[in-house]
Amino acid sequence: MPLTRKQHERLANVVTFTPHMRPGNPPKARADLPDQADQGISSGTGMGTFLLLFPGSVFFTFLVTVGAGLWGTWLPSLGYLPAMGKTTLTLHPWTELFNHPAIGGAVRSTLVSGWGTALGAFLLSGLLFAMNYGSRTWGVMEKMLAPILSVPHAAFAIGLSFLISPGGWLVRMVSPGLTGVDLPPAWVIPKDPQGLSLMIALVLKETPFMILVMAGALQQIDYNATMAVGRSLGYRPAQVRLKILLPQLFPHMRLSLYAVIAYSLSVVDMSMILGPTTPPTLPVLVVQWFNDPMLETRLMGAAGATLLLGMVLGSLLLAYILEKAIIRCFEWRVANGRRETLLSPMTPVGRTLLMGGMTVFTLTMVILVIWSFTWQWPFPEVLPAQWSFRFWEKSIHDLGSPMGTTLITGLAATMAGLVLTIGCLEYEATLSKTIAINRYKKCMSIIYLPLLLPQVAFIFGVQMLLTWFHLDASATGLIWSHLIFVLPYIFLTLGSVYRSFDRRIMTTATLLCGSPMKAFLKVKLPMLLRPILFSFAVGISVSVAQYIPTLFIGAGRFSTITTEVVALASGSDRRVAAVYALYQQLIPMGVYLLAIFVPKLMFINRKRMQR
């Protein structure tokens, strides 16, 4: 039970006048105590200046990296690349881009899968929430969220392709009984030219993410009271969630929705596994061009990356306009008094959708496990004819180096991200004026840029920047590039919990032990252990899943589990691909388990620390 303000002030007074207090303590500070306690200031100005280093370096790093990344892509798109002896500005790369035979198809499939995903994930998460929240199925789903989200995109894509491809598990389950076929049908699934299988996979992967964000936002609203008011006015529960709760939740979900839009328009690894091939989606095409030995093609790649950036920014603008339009259209309708909703009779549909989604996730994991132990598996059979450990055994010899790179990069980037994030949040805690906090938050929102821009739109420039520092293809460069994507997610997951930490506890602790640093290490950090470990797990899983930064900044010298998985996915041996996909899955899964059980065990006799 946190101390009430009265208790805390009394305690502060007691401590102030305790006789054994060290004489070194400046009397001025003591006289100021009640005032300090009121404002919750826990550290002196010296501490604040020291802490300013954290937001300062984060801001500067992000500004330089993203800024240089974008410029370093824009200039080559105009033919300017001094490192390769190109110093004249020209529109040639752009004319080449627009005359390229693949560009039309690439742009189309990118837009279809990207917009389909964003709309699908957003509508689905909203409707599932309205229809199912509070039901038992929803409870099961909430328990499954963390493991579902920990599945890396590439591993999920491989599992899904084993499920839905013509020779996949689903067809095997009904063949030849229902389909009458002995040979896999000749469907172009996945990798259909429209990008629909890519879209479905992305919707399945991004909807749980949106639901997680929604569940987090829901904690800021008094759900039960809102429900009671709505229902006492005659509204069905689903209608209250739709008309009253979702509009309040949306502002908290906007940033994540934008991240989903940007991500699904610019995803590379998943698109290489499930997306169309001739032509591939634009981001994949851009990566191919960037890796072309011909310099002219690379310049065209820079133009393509910039076009993708334009598509993403245009889409975000469109999403913003759509939001305003929808609010205008529905503002009055929300208050039109209709109590009934189509959603209520559709509850069974909602349950089925939710169960279906969870089943697909389970099946993708199961099929990966089955394939990893397969020796021979002729087509219409539902299960392998012969099993084997061979591919697991073989993988252990080849695994060392990519696994080591993955773990070291992930740990280094995540630890750095955590320290920087906590430093930034601690600095924020020293600010006492709302205006100052808001200005600070506005400045710090620069860290979300990497989530809202396509990776390929600035990673080429980042590569240039690192070359300039002689850090290209170095471990430092690789960790730096991962940090740029890990830090925003750590900030997102840790920020709100960290900010809601009761300041009076820190004041009390500082008064008792006489040092803000000691109070921070002995009281605040342990109390926040659970959320910190959770963001640690998020950081690791984000780092493990990075494909583009490893590919570009590692410059072929570093391979991680993810680059191996993506390379193997296009190979013909499903068994090896399954083994590596499972390795890729194992790391985040293990870290999430640690994040759940370590605090449970550490605070086993502390009921309030068990949530």
Binding site: V229, R231, S232, K243, Q248, E331, V334, A335, N336, G337
Partner: protein, 210 residues
């Protein structure tokens, strides 16, 4: 149109929170249930409006206009409730908050007119487009009551609605609430721990009611 409690008792894990209550509240009348915090008076209200959480069991019968409403889900009971907090929806204007409570099937101009009329009655003329957060405490609780009443409830429950108000404001809002109850001619039930809040109707003191 009366609200009747017949041997109503609430149990939790088999333990009764209070002795069975029998109470008949006539239209236009406000009954009071008094008791210290934790005696189960708010739980009694949630049982009447239908939002009793699963850990509790309801014994006895609640009748509205002579019909038992025990099995009726909350949204069909037609019972308005006013909480300690105003619980105005923070993302909607005052006008939309009130219009939200109006019955469906009215053209927009009529809805606007009804909202305007209601606001005028409560001394809140021209507040349609105001953000709830910019209103004073008294204005918010009046708006909240208006919203509850615009849904045309057949009974009104008051869950310590005056406890967060300043002393001077309290009497004014209290009078406004009881006036509206009389005007609409519906039964109302007030729960409070403050003897000063008491209404004129029947009284049950849960502290002595064991």
């Amino acid at each position: 149109m009366s609200l009747e409690l017949k041997h109503v008792q609430i149990t939790r894990k088999g333990q009764a929170l209070f002795a069975p209550i029998c109470l008949n509240i006539f239209p236009g009348e406000t009954a009071t249930v008094m008791g210290a915090s934790g005696c189960g008076k708010s739980t009694l209200l949630s049982a009447i409006c239908g939002s009793l959480s699963r850990e509790f069991r309801l014994k006895g019968e609640i009748l509205l206009k002579g019909h038992s409403i025990n099995p009726v889900p909350m949204e069909r009971r037609n019972i308005g409730i006013l909480f300690q907090d105003d619980l105005l929806f923070p993302h909607m204007s005052i006008g939309s908050n009130l219009a939200f409570a109006l019955p469906p099937g009215m053209p927009r101009y009529l809805r606007d007119e009804k909202v305007k009329h209601a606001l005028g009655q409560a001394g809140l003329e021209g507040f349609e487009d105001r953000d709830p957060a910019t209103l004073s405490g008294g204005q918010r609780s009046r708006a909240s009551l208006l919203r509850t009443l615009l849904a045309r409830p057949k009974a009104l429950l008051l869950d310590e609605p005056f406890s967060r108000l300043d002393h001077g404001l309290k009497g004014q809002i209290r009078e406004f609430v009881f006036d509206q109850v009389k005007k609409m001619n519906i039964p109302a039930l007030l729960v409070t721990h403050d003897p000063g809040d008491m209404a004129e109707g029947p009284l049950i003191d849960l502290t002595t009611h064991r």
